[in-house]
Point group: C2
Chain length 403, copies 2
């Protein structure tokens, strides 16, 4: 077996430091979403391929599909919205509106490149079975609150309505959708390839940019005002055009200022998808955070706590004859809820034990020698300053509980 | 599209009630493991098939393997130990001992049957790079503490040492391994098929059952005593024989009394696996909770909290003209950390709005009508008793914060 054992391209492991940063961001998002009344849902990683197909338009070729041992065509979860529709179809008695959040990996056979992976987490929350704009407003309010709770302050939710594009052919809307990527010149170039001449293309783009907010949007903005959302945090953007195959009315996209990796999330109203499995129309609206981008933006904005291991203290073993005392101490600390470790190679020299704590970033080491045991005290060493002091166990517990 | 849209056999969705119960158990386990100094690790869902193969012995046929678009043979994560070895091999600078926990789904092409699924979560924790029995003792202490923290009190960690089987052919140990499933008669029957006559088979089994604890086990028990683990919670079991292809010394298995679904977890020392990728020997010891069984056992023992949605209160909308007041109220409640919902179809009659709260299990409804608005009060209705009272907002917040 080779000594380098790689992961397939586009797949990543997360070592403790990264795993902790991920857990920090997810916890913040969950807290906000639960405050808005969204409940957790988990769906299967593998679906029948036919469940997933016919839903994603052009992206469909990115589905990881294979044949199982029973000869059935199955596929890995590609997003969390089609699984949501399936769950709603197979559980007709779910109380509606059904508000759920879902945080699971999805898999796409993308060409791996910077910031694009084949396995990544999506953080979705959706309201199924409510047609009012209030449901859209609540989704936007939740997304904005979650972003604020992460500590971001300069960001904006761009909002548009599919109605803004009324009368425009789908091909044209698809070109408009590329505006952030290819710029106005690019859009005009591509419109020309669709048969527009240059003045027509420019006029079309200008007309769009000058569009007035639709009735839907005016109503939405009123509701966001009632929700006490800071008006700096959202804006009408008449050229925003996402998910043509998917969204049916309001659409929105979250951009964080100073983050250059693109929008960190998006969503909208999609009244036609959920009902496809049942044949009935079921209104729905939702939002999806791109977790990797959000995490990257949070990291760039210094919103992530500095990594340190859970362990607050390493209890060392001075000599094997004191092992029993050290073991009792580590157990009592753990019983008090303090994350504590014991040197697992107790025959090693103290220096080497301290080096383990240092390498791992454990802030304190506790030392129990003959003097300490006689005096019923513990020597505690601050591994960054090198300072040490003798404490009673109760004081040690206090010290480690507050840090 | 058919109206019934199933999931493939052996795959499950978890609706909010189940998802919450799962999160409850996982949170308890994580808390304990972090207290013992285990740090989180996440690995890729998909590995190169060659990474996984040659590690699982007979179970290998259960690997979900397929060819990706690049024509490479890949496979879904089958357990979390081989991925751990790969991570250790590809990250030679990880401080050792490396103590990590990992909570992710694994996939096995099992024949689905009661309690056996094709996608399920494993809760693993392992210490890599420590050869002392202290590391085994700590793993056992952590597993026992986690089980206690979940609220179980009648359970036992059965412990054995591979040394107990010294001199016995592998085929015989494999038969002993089936003892819990097929009983003594079954074992004797199968031994006879291996060429033993009946008295020999009986004598072999008797000799095993009468084995004295090995030196390893005696040392381990001393350490568990120092760790202050209640001696009722572990026992030497000379016929315990798990993972012949895998474990090299101490082995252990957790059984919960009154739970008939089999052991809820197991582990042991496996000094030969981690180093396979690097060619060097790296000692390791660990434990894996079977999450589904643990959850089922917790449910049967009434250890799971009664399900209620996150939402503490539904703010109703009496008439559309009061919508603005209701929206402000729900926002203020959320700002105070209270999980609150607003009726998302505000034109519906109050009765229907209350019915939503009732269906979802939301305990309170807040009503804001003209009198309440004039008096700067809120009517709060307890939806299980039907009682209602008028409160000032500050009192409402107090009431909802403590319930």
């Amino acid at each position: 077996m080779a000594s380098k054992v790689p992961t397939p391209k586009g797949f990543r492991d997360f070592l403790p430091e990264q795993a902790r940063a991920r857990a920090f961001v997810l916890e913040k998002l969950k807290t906000t979403l639960e405050r808005f009344g969204f409940e957790p849902l988990e769906t299967t990683a593998i679906e029948f391929a036919e469940t997933l197909k016919g839903k994603y338009g052009e992206e469909e070729k990115l589905i990881f599909e294979f044949t199982d041992r029973g000869g059935r065509s199955v596929a890995l979860r590609f997003d969390q919205t089609v699984p949501l529709s399936r769950v709603v179809a197979t559980n007709p008695n779910l109380p509606k509106p059904f508000k759920r959040y879902q945080i699971q990996p999805v898999w796409r056979a993308e060409n791996p490149q910077k910031g694009r992976f084949r396995e990544f987490i999506q953080v979705d929350f959706d309201t199924v079975g409510a047609s009012s704009q209030l449901a859209d407003a609540e989704i936007i309010a939740a997304a904005i609150s979650a972003t604020e709770n992460l500590g971001f302050d300069s960001f904006v939710m761009k909002i548009n309505d599919r109605e803004t594009f009324r009368g425009l052919p789908a091909g044209v809307v698809r070109i408009i959708d590329k505006l952030p990527k290819i710029g106005e010149t690019g859009v005009i170039e591509q419109l020309k390839r669709q048969g527009y001449d240059s003045p027509q293309a420019k006029a079309l783009l200008k007309r769009l940019k000058d569009s007035a907010p639709t009735k839907n949007i005016n109503k939405l903005f009123e509701l966001l005002k009632s929700f006490k959302i800071n008006p700096d945090k959202y804006a009408f953007d008449p050229t925003l055009a996402r998910g043509l195959d998917y969204y049916t009315a309001l659409i929105f996209e979250l951009e964080i200022e100073d983050y250059s990796g693109g929008s960190v999330g998006g969503g909208g109203r999609y009244d036609d998808l959920i009902g496809r499995f049942t044949g009935s129309k079921i209104p729905a609206t939702g939002f999806s955070f791109g977790f990797d981008r959000l995490l990257e933006a949070a990291s760039e904005a210094n919103l992530l706590p500095k990594y340190s291991p859970n362990t607050k203290v390493l209890v060392t073993v001075l000599k094997e004859q004191y092992l029993n005392d050290s073991l009792s101490l580590v157990s009592r600390l753990r019983d008090r809820g303090i994350a504590a470790e014991i040197s697992l190679e107790p025959t090693e020299k103290l220096d080497k034990q301290l080096k383990y704590a240092d390498n791992k970033g454990i802030p304190y080491a506790a030392i129990l020698g003959p003097d300490e045991i006689k005096q019923d005290m513990i020597t505690i060493k601050d591994l960054s300053s090198g300072k040490q002091e003798k404490l009673k166990e109760s004081d040690l517990i206090k010290k480690l509980t507050i840090t």
